[in-house]
Every structure is written in C-alpha cells, then in structure tokens.
C-alpha cells in the first residue's frame, strides 16, 4: 500500500529535487521532505539555490550563510542541515581551489567581477549550483587512512529547485556546458553532475495543487523531465482540502438547487435558528465548496493519467509554521517516505 506512494526506488535515491509551480508550497514541502527523510537518526541536507532565504523563513532561523548548518532535529534524533548556495560564492570557491586568489577574491567580488562572470554565461550559474549540490551528495566522512570505511555525510540531500518553468533548464547541465570551455576544472566536475542527475540516485518530485493551472503545468513539466531523460520521482499534491459534503448532496450543491430547505431543517435540529441571509450565506459557501470539489475531481483524473506515485498533504487551515512542517513530515512518513 505504501509502496505505491513511495516505491522502493525512491527510497534508494540520494538526491531529491523538489520543484513546482510558484505558490504551490514547493519550499514548504522540500523542508517537510528533508525532515521526514531525517527520521530514524539520519542526517539530511536541505539546499536552496535561488538566494531567497526560504529555508530560513520556513524554519524560523536567521538567514543562512554559505555554509551548512543545523536547522532542525527530527523527533527521534535525526538532523536536518540547511545550505543556501550562492553561485558567486561557489565560483570563488572553485577559483580558490585552482588559483590562489587570497584576499583578492573579495575585492573582485566587491567590484562585481564575480557576478559579471556568472552572468556572462547563463549556463555557468546553473553548472556552479548543481556542482555544489553534487559535491554535498558525494561528500563522505570516516577514517580514511586507517582503512576504515568512508560513509556519506548525508543520508539524503533535498534540493529546493527553481519552479517548474525553469527547472528542466536548470537540471539540463549538459546543455549548459555547451556554453563553457571544453576542458578545465568545471567541465570535468559537470560531467559528474550530469551522471548523478541522470542516475537512479536522483528523483525529481513536483509539488502541485488540485487546480487547473498548477496541474496543467505539472503535467507539462513531467513530459519535459522525461524528454530530458531525468528520473521522475513522485507528485506531491499539496493543500488537499477535505470534501465535507456527502456524495449525494454534491451534484445538487454545485448548482445550489434545493439546498436551502433541507439545510434549514437540519440546522434547526441542531438548535440553530438562523436568519434567511445567514442560511443564504451558508448555502453560497457550500456551493463554492461543491464547485471546487468538482474541479478537483476533474484535475485529479488528469494527474492520475501521468501514472506516477502520488503523495497527498492536507491544507493546514492555520497556515504553515514550524509545527506545521513537523506535521507534514509526519504525514509524509505515514505515506511511506523513508
């Protein structure tokens, strides 16, 4: 049962890329996923690449520097670290590895030279960002010299990726490399990135809501991801609201027909004697709900046709605070995320 939500292949993935249409809750669910994967004493890393400090906002911490730091603890001892990757800092980091720039690096940065270099070739930015992510996925710890086994530092890395409109371009590092030198340090690093992103160690998840546009955009992106040869993961259906109406009342309710009379006697049975306009107000709220449930049913069947594992997360009517992230992580665990 859980397997159909989160197949074994996804449990093997080391890099979870989370994208989605703007406003669907991409960052929130990336955070919840990182927390869910940290359960059982594991260590995960949540990475953002667009400099929006979304992770800091979600976990209610000060803005993240360009360094990994602990942002949350899973209930049973696991740990989530956060990292905000910045392309300019990543470029400087590279340059430092191969050329000794010393203090001059900072001067170059102040002059805008680093920003200039990263904008000169739009692909460079993405190559640098994905390169850093790959480095995090591959990093190991352990007693190397004494023959001890080195183990990955992170059990899983969750990437809060750019939104659906840009994500495939972002992940299509091969194309981006076309605009860069054919040799050199970044080139060889990028080959490793391409290999990782196109392997079963990666899964690209898409966050959506049960509305027309987000679902349409999700389906378009699924096609794009498949065409680019990237490994599709699950669809995370966010903000699912309960259908409160009994099925028999639903079709009638969508038109509002005959809702009033039955409703009034029901209300009176509960001791509520309401004015006409109050009852009318309740009816119009119900009609809106019924219309929405119908739209949801229609878009859901479109989503099912994609044949992908789906996870559902409810709308948290009180809004998403830190407690909400834990709640969502728990719900992900219940649906088999591990």
């Amino acid at each position: 049962m859980t397997d159909q939500h989160w197949p074994a292949a996804l449990a093997e993935a080391r890099l979870h890329v989370v994208s989605g249409k703007g406003g669907t809750g991409k960052t929130t669910l990336a955070a919840a996923l990182a927390l869910a994967l940290a359960a059982g004493g594991r260590r995960t890393l949540l990475v953002e690449v667009e400099g929006r400090q979304g992770i800091a906002q979600v976990f209610d911490t000060p803005p993240l520097p360009y360094a990994e730091q602990r942002i949350a603890v899973a209930p049973d001892g696991g740990e989530v670290r956060g990292l905000s990757v910045d392309a300019e800092a990543a470029l400087l980091e590279y340059l430092e590895m191969f050329y000794n720039l010393g203090l001059a690096g900072r001067t170059l940065r102040r002059m805008g030279a680093i920003e200039f270099a990263t904008t000169l070739a739009p692909g460079l930015r993405d190559v640098l960002l994905t390169g850093k992510v790959k480095e995090c996925v591959g990093r190991t710890v352990g007693e190397d010299r004494r023959g001890g086994r080195r183990v990955p530092l992170y059990d899983a890395v969750v990437l809060d990726a750019p939104p659906t409109g840009r994500v495939v371009k972002f992940l299509d590092v091969t194309k981006a490399m076309g605009s860069l030198a054919r040799t050199g340090p970044i080139h060889s690093q990028s080959e490793g990135v391409v290999e990782l992103l196109h392997s079963s160690r990666t899964a690209v998840h898409l966050v959506t809501q049960l509305e027309d546009l987000p679902v349409q955009e999700t389906l378009d992106t699924v096609a794009e991801i498949r065409e680019a040869g990237l490994p599709m993961g699950a669809i995370l259906v966010n903000r699912v609201r309960p259908s409160r109406l009994p099925a028999t009342a639903l079709t009638g309710a969508a038109t509002g027909a005959g809702l009033g009379a039955g409703l009034r006697s029901g209300l009176e049975a509960a001791g509520l004697f309401l004015k006409d306009e109050e009852v009318d107000g309740l009816v119009s709220e119900t009609v809106e709900h019924a219309e929405r449930v119908q739209v949801e049913a229609a878009v859901r069947s479109g989503l099912d046709a994609a044949g992908l594992p789906q996870l559902e997360l409810p709308e948290l009517t009180e809004g998403v605070d830190l407690g909400g992230i834990y709640e969502l992580a728990e719900l992900l665990r219940e649906q088999g995320v591990r």
């Binding site: 249409k21 703007g22 406003g23 979304g54 906002q57 590279y94 340059l95 191969f98 050329y99 720039l101 001059a104 170059l108 002059m111 030279a113 200039f116 270099a117 904008t119 000169l120 070739a121 739009p122 939104p163 605009s179 860069l180 030198a181 340090p185 509305e211 027309d212 546009l213 349409q216 609201r241 309960p242 409160r244 109406l245 009994p246 009342a249 009379a261 039955g262 006697s265 029901g266 209300l267 049975a269 509960a270 001791g271 509520l272 306009e277 109050e278 009852v279 009318d280 107000g281 309740l282 009816v283 119009s284 709220e285 119900t286 809106e288 219309e291 929405r292 739209v295 009180e318 809004g319």
Partner: protein, 416 residues
C-alpha cells in the same frame, strides 16, 4: 520604515466614509482609478503565482468597458488566458481583443499583446544603428544569449515596450503585467543590471585587463585581475570571451542610446499618471514580497495605488466557527446514536431531514472561518507595517479564469 516618508495626510484624504474607521486599511477604489483620465499607465507587480496577469487583463477590460482606449501588455500569460485575449500568435504588436466589447458600445477599445523579448531587442538594435552593424550584432552568438537567456532581459524589454506603447499616444491607458520574477523588485532592478552589464567596462577588463582602468586601479587589483581573467577564460573558454568582447565593441555605439531610453522609461514610472498596483495572495511569502515592493516604491517616489489581495476566502455568514463546529458535533452524535440502534422504534427515530447535510455545511463553515481568520492575521502583518496603503480583496473563484466572462467577474470583484 518607508511609510514615515509618506505624508500623514494620506490617511485622511479619503473620500469614502467607510475607510476612516481606525484599524481598518483604506479601501482601494479601482473603478475610481480607472475612470480618472489622468491615469495613463497602470503597472501590476507582485511575486510569481499571485495572479498578476489575470489582474492586469481584468482591469484593462473593465477600463475599456468604461469607455477608455486601453492596451494591456502581458508578459507570459497562461495558454488559455492568452487565447481568451486573442493572443494566439506572438507577434509583438497589440491586437484588438475579439468580443471584448459589444459593437457600438461607446468609445472604449481593448487591445492586448504578449511581449516577445527577442523581437523587442532586435527592433531596438535596428532602430539605433545601420542595417550592416545591426546584422553583425544579430550574428554574434553572444547576442543570442543576452537577448534570450539573460535574467533581466525580459524586465528590460517589458520596460522598453511600455515606453514605446505610451509614446505612440494611440491609447489613453496602458496596463502592464510584470515578468514572473523571483522577486517583485526585479522589475525595477533588472534594467539597471543589464545596463551595467552592457556598458562594457567589465568585458574590457576581462579581455585586456592591463590596458583598462587607471593607474591606481592597476596598482591595487591589476595583477589579481590578470589572474582572474585567466581563470575565467579557462572556465568559459577563449571563444566566449572573444565573442563577448566583439559584441560589446559592436554594441558600444548603441549603448548611449539604450541607456537614455532606459532612463526615460524609468522616469515615466515616476511621472504623474503612472500608478502601481501591487498584487499578492494572502500568504506570508507573497505579502512579504509586497511589503518590500511597497517600501521600494516609496523610496523611489513612485506612486502606489494600493494592494490587490487576491484569492481570499471571506465568510458569507456571521455564525462563529466555534458554534458551527459545536452544532455539527451535536448532529453527528445524534446520527451515530441512531446508526447504533438495533432497531427503529418509530418514525421519530429517523434522522431529521437534512441533518447530514447541515452537519457537513456547518463543518465547511467552520473551516472557512478558520481560513479567513488566518488570512486576516497574515494581512495584519502587512497593514501594521503599511497602515496607509489602500487594499481591495478579491474573493477566490472556484475555477481558474480563462475567458472574457471570467475576466469580467474578476473585474467586478476588483471594483467592489
């Protein structure tokens, strides 16, 4: 705070009587704004996914229905919305929106266009130089990167197009949607970023660092820069730098003209007759962006009409959430009892008609009250920081808008 720069009179100059109650934000009167012939440019901005395009299109349609000659510039409309505006093909020219206005409906007119940034850029280049030189620029591989993938080109071209549309004088109201940027501020910042990128200083440094800059500059960072240039060319490849360098040289003669136009358009944004409408959904992220943008507009002395709070869920009945939930529980408990009975003793034990329905409706209402309260709380943070900004909220529709009737309905909600 940015609001301290705003004259205090802003709060008292309202003409609507229901807007001065303490603690309540002023009501944004969009119909008044559209009817005011002095309003010549309306810019809709906000972070991605809040409904900017729909808001822009609805306002444009409503203004046209009120007799104004309107053009709406959309940036990246969803497919079906584009179709409803008659924007099936992208030709970078305004076209009349079919069926927007009934024939003989008065003087109003509605045209729409979708921005083609590559073509706008091409036209700008052609307009500033000889055909030969323009061709040399078009052929440069680097131009193709800049005109299609540079983040900021879309914003720059949107502003350029806005400048062009207002300059023709063909319309008396231009409504602009802004690009789906990461941040609402990108719309104001990106043109400047592109300008400084194209001004050539950096590229000259990279291609010939020894010759660029003054003595002092060379002394301080010269040798480092040489090293850096070498590193960059190792990464980017010599060809890319050579292309970029050739591009910047070819572009040099155009640059002054470009800069001047960009400055002029920026000034247009401050001119009387321009109004900004900030769009947000009742979510913390969207309102935080809206807040930044409002502060920025105030710093730049750009006129803010107000905030459109999109997709709200106002309650339609005053019954409290707690009471609704309690009544629902009463009904549900009664029903459970009946289900548990081994037999029915008589008709008086049957469920009262509508009990199941009423319980569901009451639960729904309780959910809705909770949602509305959260939305009010989130908005409260914005209004406490910006108490003088007028606001209108637009209740959510069950379905996405993709036809003119939907746009009209949004227009009605915007104006209410």
């Amino acid at each position: 705070m940015a609001d301290t720069t705003r004259p205090d009179t802003a709060r008292s100059d309202t003409t609507r009587s229901d807007t001065t109650r303490s603690g309540r934000p002023r009501h944004l009167d969009l119909d008044g704004l559209l009817a005011d012939r002095a309003t010549r440019v309306l810019v809709c901005c906000g972070s991605g996914g809040v409904g900017k395009t729909t808001t822009a299109a609805s306002l444009a349609l409503r203004a046209a229905e009120q007799g104004r000659r309107v053009v709406v510039l959309t940036i990246d409309p969803a497919r079906r919305l584009a179709q409803s505006l008659g924007l099936e093909e992208l030709d970078n020219e305004p076209r009349t929106v079919p069926g927007a206005l009934p024939p003989g409906a008065g003087d109003g007119e509605l045209q729409a266009m979708m921005l083609d940034m590559r073509r706008t850029f091409d036209e700008m280049v052609s307009g500033h130089t000889t055909p030969d030189r323009a061709q040399a620029i078009f052929d440069n591989p680097f131009y193709q990167t800049i005109s299609t993938s540079f983040s900021g080109t879309q914003e720059y071209m949107a502003m350029e197009k806005l400048g062009q549309l207002t300059a023709t004088g063909d319309w008396d109201l231009v409504v602009v949607d802004t690009p789906p940027s990461r941040s609402a501020l990108d719309f104001l910042d990106a043109p400047q970023r592109l300008s400084s990128f194209l001004d050539g200083r950096m590229i000259r440094l990279l291609s010939a660092p020894a010759r660029a800059g003054g003595y002092a500059f060379r002394k301080i960072v010269g040798s480092t820069f040489n090293l850096f240039a070498k590193a960059v060319s190792t990464i980017l490849g010599g060809q890319m730098l050579a292309d970029a360098s050739a591009f910047v040289q070819a572009f040099d003669t155009l640059f002054g003209g470009f800069q001047e136009r960009a400055n002029k358009t920026y000034q247009l944004l401050r001119a009387p007759g321009t109004q900004f409408v900030v769009v947000a959904s009742p979510e913390p992220d969207a309102l935080r962006e809206a807040s930044y943008f409002v502060e920025r507009l105030s710093d730049e002395h750009m006129p803010l009409a107000g905030l459109v709070l999109n997709r709200t869920h106002p309650v339609h009945a005053t019954l409290s959430g707690a009471r609704a939930r309690e009544a629902a529980e009463t009904l549900e408990a009664a029903q459970d009892d009946r289900v548990g009975l081994p037999y029915r003793r008589g008709p008086q034990d049957a469920s009262p008609p509508g009990a199941e329905l009423a319980a569901a409706v009451l639960r729904l209402h309780a959910d809705r009250v909770e949602t509305a309260e959260r939305e009010r709380r989130v908005l409260g943070r914005f209004t406490r920081a910006h108490p003088t900004v007028p606001i209108v909220d637009v209740p959510a529709m069950a379905t996405d808008v993709h036809d003119l009737e939907g746009l009209r309905e949004i227009g009605r909600r915007l104006a209410s």
